[in-house]
């Protein structure tokens, strides 16, 4: 494969960033969900 470095950087960065965003959202959500009463969580 030519330009392997470029392709690796694009795939690596994209999926790493998305994963970080997902993990951060989940961690933040869990943390807040344990502090906020269920009546303020319309989806529960």
């Amino acid at each position: 494969m030519d330009h392997l470095g470029f392709i690796a950087v694009v795939y690596g960065v994209t999926f790493a960033v998305i994963t970080t965003l997902v993990v951060r959202t989940v961690v933040q959500g869990r943390d807040l969900a344990s502090k906020v009463a269920d009546k303020d969580k319309p989806w529960t």
Binding site: D2, I7, V10, V22, G29, A33, S34, K35, V36, T44
Partner: protein, 257 residues
């Protein structure tokens, strides 16, 4: 006082399903994009960047549209439901990240294909401006003040961006243009992609859209909880203040006696 329950749950069956589908399609994109699809006749292996770049760009622009529509809904709806404002904010937060990734993958692709990381073409430049505008939008959301104030300010900013972006795009287009035409969307029927390439690209767009949906749903719930926290803290502070002054007046009145 009524009993309060605390469930450490943000996910719902819907978001779980969306998340699972997103995971599957993302895996498909990686395997399909890197191993299954053939090299492109003109671009060689650089075409593999497209399977990530195009869906990222699509999501970035989708996020922009969602933010604008949600902001308009907030402004126009009589109830000014905060849900619209949170969806706008969540979509912008996700959009900023995707916008930055679009620029990165685009410039790496440009380095291979054009020979330079950056070209002053309208799409690239508009995307860069969109990124800066979004960063400004999020900064405005962080200005503080009441929730209502935040919603109103940021909604106006989001709608002004709708005026700004086409003007930027058009003026850069008029200024100079060397970008290759969008190869799938252009109407000349000249689709050079074979079946597996098109499928991978399509799955990519779907997968990234599902990821975006999942992220916005979850972030929007996080924002809702943050707002709820702010409100309870405000209530508590007000109650404390009220108690304080009550105590003080009790002391004062006892002293007078």
């Amino acid at each position: 006082m009524e009993a309060q329950t605390f469930t450490a749950r943000v996910a719902t069956p819907t978001t779980r399903l969306v998340g699972a589908m997103a995971l599957v399609s993302m895996a498909w994109v990686v395997i399909g994009g890197l191993f299954v699809t053939p090299r492109d006749v003109d671009q060689g292996d650089a075409v593999r960047i497209m399977y990530v770049h195009v869906p990222t760009a699509w999501v970035a622009y989708l996020a922009f549209i969602v933010t604008a529509v949600a902001s308009a809904c907030w402004l126009l709806s009589r109830k000014h439901s905060m849900g619209f404002d949170r969806v706008a904010g969540a979509s912008a937060e996700v959009g900023v990240v995707f916008m930055a990734m679009t620029l990165l993958s685009g410039s790496l692709w440009g380095r291979i294909t054009w020979g330079s990381y950056w070209a002053w073409d309208p799409r690239l430049t508009t995307t860069a401006f969109l990124l800066v505008t979004y960063i400004g939008y999020l900064a405005v959301r962080g200005l503080g003040g009441s929730l209502e104030q935040r919603a109103r300010r940021s909604a106006v900013i989001a709608l002004l961006a709708v005026l700004e972006i086409p003007l930027v795009h058009f003026s850069v287009l008029m200024w100079r243009s060397l970008h290759q035409k969008a190869s799938v969307l252009s109407g000349d029927g000249d689709i050079k992609m074979d079946g597996s390439m098109l499928t991978t690209l399509l799955v990519g767009v779907i997968g990234f859209t599902l990821t975006f949906t999942w992220l916005v749903l979850h972030r929007q719930r996080v924002l809702a909880m943050q707002d709820a926290m702010q409100m309870t803290q405000l209530d508590a502070a007000l109650r404390e203040r009220a108690n304080e002054s009550e105590n003080k007046s009790v002391i004062e009145s006892s002293r007078l006696k």
